[in-house]
């Protein structure tokens, strides 16, 4: 609701006279717009600095601020991107990120959908307790889980050398389930019960109801969850560091970027390009599917 629009849209009588009150209202309107635009521009400056610097040669970055690049002479170059893709292993790490993120999103969403459906529409002893316990596990800081799981993995040989990314997929599934079940169960529970009753009358079995009725109706919630989970995993550093390690052949783009921060030090021409490359996929996903992402956040502000 635009209050200032109402306040600043004068009635005919007011518009005829320039009164102190109407001047004040106009002034407040202008101040508001200036404040909004100023804040937004200031907010964008850190990212803008990164973007512009990624197109500048090393000597320029080392000696002048990025804002200098905005005035002639213009020295923009694509060399940084070329170098980072060819020599710093970024292509491979982008691929690793996909290899980790996609299955690690599919598995928890599916497992959570099965469980959420049972929690919402099936009766069994201990249902409420188990649900609360499952969601309550959101409290557990992941740090508590790493050491025992990692030693178990080593003992049974579930290492990146033997099994690739399976270890990290399963770990992300375990960590992502409390939030996923919570989100989906909330949605499933809100489905009208007549839906299920009429399906039962028509003789539909559990599988039919799940795949033909519940899932199609739940596309918005599932989309939100998929995007949320995908972005969370893609942007994750710690879990990848723990279960996949830092070696270049298996590192996802976050780990690789962290490695580059250490090895390149002041090489900001390459670092900025690498950072921006790591941001492209999430930004594309985010901008095109923002609606769903926001819905996911609003549904549960508890994901840690």
């Amino acid at each position: 609701m635009q209050v200032s629009a109402e306040a600043a849209a004068p009635t005919n009588a007011k518009a005829d006279r320039i009164t102190p009150v109407s001047i004040l209202e106009r002034f407040q309107g202008v101040v508001l717009h200036v404040a909004v635009i100023l804040l937004t521009v200031m907010w964008m400056i850190p990212a803008l600095g990164l973007l512009i610097s990624s197109f500048r040669p090393f000597t320029d970055i080392a000696h002048t601020g990025w804002w200098v690049a905005l005035s002639p002479p213009f020295h923009f170059t694509l060399d940084n991107y070329a170098q980072v893709l060819k020599e710093q292993g970024l292509v491979h790490s982008l691929f690793n990120s996909f290899m980790i993120s996609i299955p690690a999103t599919i598995i928890p969403v599916t497992v959570a959908a099965f469980a959420a459906y049972a929690f919402s529409w099936m009766k069994f002893p201990g249902r409420n307790f188990l649900f609360l316990a499952l969601v309550g596990l959101l409290a557990v800081p992941l740090q508590l889980s790493f050491i025992p799981v990692l030693s178990a993995y080593v003992k049974i040989g579930l290492t990146p050398n033997n099994w690739g990314f399976v270890g990290v997929w399963l770990a992300h599934t375990g960590y992502g389930l409390p939030f996923s079940v919570y989100l989906l169960a909330n949605f499933f529970r809100a489905l009208p019960s007549d839906l299920f009753e009429s399906a039962e009358i028509d003789g539909a079995g559990t599988l039919t109801v799940f795949f033909r009725i519940v899932l199609p109706l739940s596309v918005p919630a599932i989309a939100s969850l998929v995007i949320f989970q995908f972005l969370w995993i893609w942007n994750d550093l710690l879990v990848a560091l723990i279960y996949v390690g830092g070696s270049e052949s298996v590192a996802p783009v976050t780990v690789q970027l962290a490695n580059l921060t250490n090895s390149l030090g002041q090489g900001y021409n390459l670092l900025t390009a690498a950072a921006f490359l790591s941001m492209i996929i999430p930004l594309i996903v985010f901008v095109s599917l923002q609606r769903y992402f926001v819905r996911g956040i609003l549904a549960g502000s508890v994901k840690g």
Binding site: L39, W66, L130, L144, S145, P178, L257, S301
Partner: protein, 331 residues
Amino acid sequence: MDVGLLLSDVVTLVVVIVAVPAVLAGYIIFGEYLVRLFPDRIRGGVRPWIWVGPALLFVAGYLVFPTIATVIQSFENAAGNWVGLHNYAVQLGNFPNGGAWIAIRNNVLWLVLYTLLVLFFGLLLAVIFDRVPYESIVKSLIFMPMAISSVALGVIWKFMYTYQPPDTPQTGTMNAVVVNLFHLQPITWLSDPNVNNYALITAGIWGIVGFSMVILSAALKGIPTDLLEAARVDGAGEITIFRRIIFPLMMPTVVVVGTTLVIFALKAFDIVYVMTAGNFGTDVLANRMYKLLFQAGNPGGASAVAVVLLLAVVPVLIFNLRQFQAVESRR
């Protein structure tokens, strides 16, 4: 770049994308087939366990048992022998500067400043953006930092904080402002213990204000407009309306967002790891735990720190969940 290798990797990815859902669908279909083998009466009792089984197993294996194991391990030394509270004594000894106390102090700093400032800015932006017609565009722009990884955020802000010696042109945005606008000496933002924690917290705030703004904005728009109209008709000024109507009505949401932020602050790892690796007095608990485990080879100490983290987070989370239920039930 070995194209052959890349192609075979892509094939692997496609196989995985197809195989994983197929396996899971196969599981549930096979499960239903198993259930049908039982007499009609018992089916309803057996079926739920097939559906919740995988979730329960995952969660037990990755969250429940490891937590218990970590708590136990915090009482053991690296060789696996029971040492009682020794690890805790080492981590929590030598107050105020020894063991984990610097990390704890920093986490408290994060907890207070990060939470309050993110709430403040989120609220401010939600309120003023509400009053402009191009609201959705500016909100998207403020929200965008949430899409990027903390590592990328760390690079952005490390770059912002670049230090060049005095009398040379500054290349970092912050020092450019300090030197050119305020005519002071450039600051070593990340290595000076007097400012570096605040520098890190600022970077963290930039990344998450969008989150708080979006939720607070939704709560703001949930306030019935007749209420606000009535107040305006009665002659109340905007500030009074905010203090007496808007803010109190938003309080439950503010509390939920605030407690969520406290939990994030307690778990801060990526930003500190990338920007300072916890050096120069910027250590936080999550970082300390990582270092104890992977650099010092001290799993007992790392477990003790993790337990301390758990003890700090659990009460906040319980409070958070209760508040969230309260907000939900009001809808």
